[in-house]
């Protein structure tokens, strides 16, 4: 019974989701349900902040500083996508009350993921998260692209879950345990079976964070899914899977880090480079953001590859900045609306600064920030990543990183170029949606003024990592 207290936020959200699911049948007010969902997520944040640090269920579920910080980040991402949903539900043909509920279920899954300290808890969290996401991707039933995205995501996702489960069975078979800490204690560094298990689990997790070479689903799903859901894909699951990856690798296989380090090393380089080149040819903004997120995950993985507290700290700083930047970008994408139609092509942005000067200036700065140009926040994310890389003698990774960032600057600049240098088109009327502006302006201003006082983000990251190393 004692253990139940430690998963209070999860239980609370689960009850809320079930109640909302039932009331939704009778209560046709989707807006109200959505508001209740947002409110309960805020309550969950409050509950998480007041939780004691403990491990529950025979140490298979831990509540510590690391999980606290990541959970709050995940909840911020979920709340942001629910706010995006309010603004666009009618126009995108996703006006059904299950949306907020599926988001909540998925969020619970992610919260379990970042707290998981056991292979089984990890798998349960991962599946709860993924199954909700499959449905969410296909939510717009009338759209061919959305259905395609859902099916594609489901098939590839199921395959990756299979790989993951296969890997888990190997690890269990060769270590005799499913608990991360016990695996670490009973580890046999010579065992080839363990390595095979790690490789398969990493393949499954790389799929979830959409790292190359398991990234193929990302552009299609990003493009096909309705934009608030794409935003959700870009925000929360990446953070959760990254947290899980860190705990899985650091807690159970810290001793044989030499073996997995090179895998992370490779997928990090591959992600950065592929994303930098592939994004250049994109014409659709959501596809471009998909490649952009692949690239960013590549940078974040440098932090994992370092296997130092410096690296972990830089990973968290990077994820936080990534979260804020993506909230701004997706709120911006949703405001590209004219006569109830949404615009997703890069060329639709043409000459936007004439009609929306302030909005365009901010998104241009966000683009520079994504490219990692100082003095914007994105630069500091990369800066810490490179500090960590050089400190752990991975100069090669850092050099590839800066080269990729120069190449990727090109496609971010192209967006700025189209917005500023090209001929203007008609005005977008999405700029007056209050709920989107509530996301857009604060997040973009945070990105711009970050350099004045960066210590809070750094302190939070340092606070979070103390429970891992």
């Amino acid at each position: 019974m004692q253990s139940l207290v430690y998963i209070l936020p999860e239980i609370f959200l689960f009850i809320v989701a079930t109640v909302l699911l039932v009331t939704g049948l009778f209560l046709k007010n989707i807006k109200l349900i959505n508001l209740l969902a947002i409110f309960s997520l805020l309550v969950a944040v409050f509950l998480i902040l007041n939780q004691p640090f403990q491990s529950a269920f025979l140490n298979s579920f831990v509540v510590d500083e690391f999980s606290l910080v990541l959970k709050v980040m995940i909840l911020i991402g979920s709340i942001a996508s629910l706010i995006m949903f309010v603004s666009s539900k009618e126009d995108l043909n996703i006006n059904i009350y299950e949306f907020p509920i599926l988001i909540i279920f998925s969020t619970i899954g992610m919260m379990v993921m970042v707290s998981a300290n056991d292979l089984l808890a990890m798998f349960i969290g991962l599946e709860l998260q993924s199954l909700s996401l499959y449905v969410l991707a296909a939510l717009n039933r009338n759209s061919l692209l959305s259905s395609e995205a859902g099916i594609k995501y489901f098939i590839l996702g199921a395959l990756s879950s299979g790989l993951l489960l296969f890997g888990i069975s190997y690890i269990y078979g060769f270590s005799g345990n499913t608990n991360f800490n016990l695996i670490a204690v009973n580890i046999n560094p010579e065992s080839l079976g363990l390595i095979i298990g790690i490789v398969f689990v990493l393949a499954g997790l790389a799929f979830k964070v959409s790292a190359v070479p398991f990234h193929m689903w990302t552009p299609d799903v990003y493009q096909g899914a309705p934009t608030p859901i794409t935003g959700f894909f870009a925000l929360a699951p990446k953070i959760a899977a990254m947290g899980l990856l860190v705990r899985f690798l650091f807690n159970s296989f810290g001793e044989i880090y030499i073996d997995w380090q090179q895998i992370i090393f490779f997928i990090s380089i591959a992600s950065m480079m592929l994303a930098a080149f592939a994004a250049i040819a994109q014409t659709n903004l959501k596809r471009l953001m998909a490649y952009s997120s692949i690239g960013h995950i590549g940078y974040a993985l440098i932090g994992v590859a370092c296997f130092t507290d410096e690296g972990l700290r830089s990973l968290l700083i990077y994820l936080m900045i990534y979260l804020i930047m993506n909230i701004a970008v997706f709120a911006f994408l949703l405001s590209l609306k004219r006569n109830d139609g949404y615009f997703e092509s890069i060329s639709d942005l043409s000459g936007m600064h004439k009609n929306h000067p302030l909005r365009t200036m901010l998104i241009a700065l966000i683009m520079f920030s994504l490219a990692g140009i100082p003095p914007l926040a994105g630069f500091f994310g990369k800066f810490y990543i490179f500090v960590a890389a050089i400190e752990s003698q991975m100069l090669f990774l850092a050099i590839i990183g800066v080269i990729a960032s120069v190449i990727s600057a090109f496609y971010y600049l192209r967006i700025v170029k189209i917005m500023y240098f090209d001929e203007p088109k008609e005005e977008f009327d999405g700029s007056s949606i209050k709920s989107l502006n509530l996301l857009y302006y604060p997040s973009s201003i945070l990105i711009i003024i970050f350099f004045i006082y960066p210590s809070p983000v750094i302190n939070i990251s340092e606070y979070a990592i103390q429970s891992i190393i």
Partner: protein, 493 residues
Amino acid sequence: MSEIPILSILIFIPVVGIFFMLLIRNNDDQSSQNLKHTALWITFLNFIISLSLLFSFDLNNPDFQFVEKYAWIESGISYHLGIDGVSILFVILTTMLVPICILASYESIKFSVKEYLISFLALETFMIGVFCSLDLVLFYLFFEGGLIPMFLIIGIWGGERRVYSTFKFFLYTLAGSVFMLLAIIYIFISTGTTDVETLLVYNFTTNEQLILWIAFFTSFMVKIPMWPFHTWLPDAHVEAPTAGSVILAGVLLKMAGYGFIRFSIGFFPDASEFFAPFIFSLSVIAIIVTSLIALVQEDMKKLIAYSSVAHMGFVTLGIFTFTVQGIEGGIIQMISHGIVSAALFLCVGVVYDRLHTREIARYGGLVSKMPFYSFSFMIFILASLGLPGTSGFVGEFLVLLSIFTVNTYFAIFATTGVVLAATYSLWLYRRIIFGALIKDDLSEMFDLTRREIIIFLPLIILTVFIGLYPKPIINIIEPSTEKIVNQIKMKLD
């Protein structure tokens, strides 16, 4: 040490100005006029404040003055500002050129005035920041941050091939600079600090120095620019609006020269000594090759842009002699070039505003229609080719003097550059100003307006003043330069 954080004020006044300008919302002619006035007053105010630096600057103190230091990112990386004799003149050059640029854009910028002025003010913040920062991360922040407004200035208000040029400019400089970032991070990790004052007395091992020197060099070489990485500069200059060219030639190139003096030779004297012949060769090649290229240009701005590369060659020659004369010469050459090339671009802008072409062949015989213009143009052309009595002479003379003491061959080749400079400059002047006024569309040309005279007057005065009486300038530079040279000598021994 003064109590008022005067450098921070200088850096952030333009930012305050940006906020003011964001408040002016209308888009009609009246409000864009108001915007221009606001920007002009803000930058002029900044100039006045920067002049107060000169009065309270202690000439006998070779150390950093007006120092401000606050905790910033974490221990080792702080918000650390300060200026010495090397940097103070660059700060004043910047604050002087920005109001001139804004004044020069009064007529030529017709659309998106607000964005234009905001870009300029942001650029001013970054430029002053570069010369004031005494922390490598802070320096990098300002150094790279300047790319954003400059990218927009060239890209939005530039000429026909502006997109190509601005991308080239941005990606070239970014690609050069990221290696400096890695070097800065390496320094941070191995020494635990990025504080310039601490690092100036720190001794890196020779191997470290060689690698780090190359990383810093890639960045500064692209920015200054040195042959063979100079190709972005003519493109950027040709497509940029007049004020953009002015600030590019006047200040942005100097950031790299300043970086060479402060960081390359300050931190890595062994490596600098090792690479000095390499730098000399590149500089001499730059001086001769780009002078020859300048000779055949059809476009006025391109010609001046290539001449900038040649002039910057003198700067690097001077700096890497490690003599007091050489470094002083380099600094004076940079200051002088900042004034003269800025003025030359303004001269091009004057006729461009009237005829909308930069092709040299379209002009001729302007002297009969525009006497005042011809006079000012002549002064700057003469200063550019280094005639005694103008500011250009002092710098070049000191540099050649110092290079003679180090290596005669390089000196001989560099001196031919002076001759070539005279050739292309005077030839340019002859083709535009002299001859008979036979072209029809030139008959409409009118002389300098009052606004343009106000722009040129301070530049003419400064050019002649520095040329005739460089003592005050040298007095400012000398103590700090001597300190730098002594430090290098000490480290080398």
